[in-house]
Symmetry: C2
Subunit: 330 residues, 2 copies
DNA sequence: CCCACCCTTGCACGTTTGTGCACGCGGCTT
DNA sequence: AAGCCGCGTGCACAAACGTGCAAGGGTGGG
């Protein structure tokens, strides 16, 4: 859908504005004047179905923004408690407890995608990780036009079987498209086989350039990996790690990862061998970003989330209700 | 609908928050997660119809706000031209040219009501006129909670047959309810019979108090009266003026009125006899309000609108498309 | 303590909206 | 120059939605 506009550009700017202009007018008539689509179709001399599509377009492209204000006197209790206890801003996504994990993830990702616009602005460098959560998010981003904004891939996505480039680049591209931003890919494997290779590679100028961008991020967006949960995250399915790696992680006491960098329940990372081969940013680098948005769904990630909080990785948390409640329990 | 909350307060604050809380959750599920009302009903353990009503409530009470952003590169051409030519901010409401005047007024009023929230804030004094336009608006206001805000009636509404209090007070009350504001009525006729009575009355302390409030207005909201248009405004139907008055107005060259104060095409008011008996604020007082919002619909009011512009009464104009275009024509 | 009233709920119906499909009009390619 | 392909359009059907109505439940007044 979004792509259409871009490809249509070949028809001349008039046409694309024409569509937007009509969408805008339809949106006015629908949302401000409460006309039915039928009536609008009549006013615009087109069919009702076209109006329906026009309105979808208007919403999907951010022309129409729907926001929900809780009255100041009753913000979600859970969000308040999380703020008090962890000093981070939480957005709790209501999801019934009996929902499946897939549902839960989809719904959190959808909400997250719609909230994201608040954090993204012009002249920013935005770090983006990847994984099933980020992937789901990427499919629902609401476009917002910005200038001079840059999307930077936080960690490599290649593995033994694929370069991971198609997967990660597709995801990044969606972010880039949504915000009219340049995209900086990071074409390396998720984990190097040999720490020495990584160290060597890190000295390359092309790599340095990317690392510099990461070091200057304004916003970082990531999910959380949970290697020992029943439903493993993308990283753990894709053939990125072998049996030996798992055993090492277990031995080292890892409870989760952010952008392929692992940490323990207390947030520490020192001495976790696998991190020597990982491609994500060191937490000292990550923490330089003033805004660090974490999207999590599912109680299975509770322990991992706890570790990430202990590590101080998160400034803004988007999380499903059940997990949020569990977080406050102990 | 709004009243319910207030009257329900007797049930205890829990219940009212309860309803709002549910509405909020339903709104999240509907607008952020794209669930169907059926699915939401299931999650909230209620019926689909209740969810429909809950969502209506959420929109009508301002929990959900729908806003339309034109991309910065294509704001309405008409609005730009009006800004350039008259140095006022225009909001053009799209209405097809063949719409009836009643339709047109309704639609402009609806849009105006929804825009109004942007102008109203805490600690403000807001002057409100009356008439068919204001009345239509008052029925669609989107609540927004404010503190210490005051609604002040700009001009009296009584006439030979009724005190006009029920009509004007109902209108004012709707404004007050919508913004949680105190309401200051102005219980005088629209026009005194004798200028001397008016002058005397103006010296009363209770009147003075109100005039002081008017003089300190932050925002004024008014329509425009068009005495010589084919479809006369409310003032001209309600028995406020007699044949002689009309003749006098015609002789004096009046083309319109704002809050029962008449002016000529060039914006001047001096020597218009009827104004000696009118109850609305003198334009020098009105112009002290930093924000002066005028809502107009219908080409019939074009000449009157021109006069109001010449008088510098307007800082923000909400107007239907046809009239806006006509305004730019000459 | 009972009654009358009002508010809320769910149902059933008619209306409104979303979407797969087939068609037709360009633009681009071969 | 002809054909292919992608895109937007309207149709028709199915899904989703709004609303008048009657019934239930709770509250305040008598």
């Amino acid at each position: 859908m979004i792509e259409r506009d871009t490809s249509n550009a070949s028809e001349g700017a008039d046409t694309v504005s024409g569509r937007t202009r009509e969408a805008l007018r339809a949106a006015h008539l629908y949302y401000m004047q409460d006309l039915t689509m039928d009536a609008i179709a009549h006013e615009l001399h087109t069919s009702r179905s076209s109006v329906s599509r026009l309105l979808s377009h208007a919403r999907a492209s951010g022309l129409v923004e729907i926001s929900i204000h809780s009255p100041l006197d009753l913000p979600s209790r859970i969000e308040q408690e999380i703020l008090a206890r962890f000093e981070i801003v939480a957005h709790v996504v209501p999801v019934p407890d009996h929902a499946t994990d897939v549902d839960r993830l989809d719904r959190v990702a959808l909400s997250a995608a719609r909230i994201l616009g608040r954090f993204v602005d012009s002249n920013q460098t935005i770090g983006v990780a990847w994984g099933s959560t980020m992937s789901a998010m990427s499919r629902h981003l609401v476009p917002k036009s910005t200038h001079n904004t840059e999307i930077v891939q936080l960690n490599g996505a290649g593995n033994g079987r694929t370069t991971g480039i198609v997967y990660a680049s597709e995801l990044l591209r969606r972010f880039g498209d949504a915000f009219g931003a340049r995209v900086q890919q990071f074409p390396v494997p998720a984990f190097f086989d040999d720490p020495a290779t990584r160290r060597a590679f890190w000295k390359e100028r092309s790599t340095q350039r990317l690392l510099d961008l990461q070091a200057g991020m304004d916003v970082a967006i990531f999910g959380i990996g949970s290697p020992f949960a029943e439903v493993p995250s993308h990283v753990y399915q894709g053939g990125y790690l072998d049996r030996g790696d798992y055993e090492a992680l277990s031995r080292d006491g890892a409870v989760g990862d952010v952008a392929t960098v692992f940490y323990r329940a207390d947030g520490s990372t020192d001495g976790i061998a696998l991190n020597e081969r990982a491609t994500g940013p060191d937490f000292t680098v990550l923490r330089r970003a003033p805004r660090r948005i974490c999207v999590v769904s599912g109680r299975a990630k509770l322990a991992s989330l706890g570790g990430a909080l202990a590590a101080g990785l998160i400034t803004d948390l988007i999380v499903d209700e059940g997990t949020a409640r569990a977080l406050l329990e102990p």
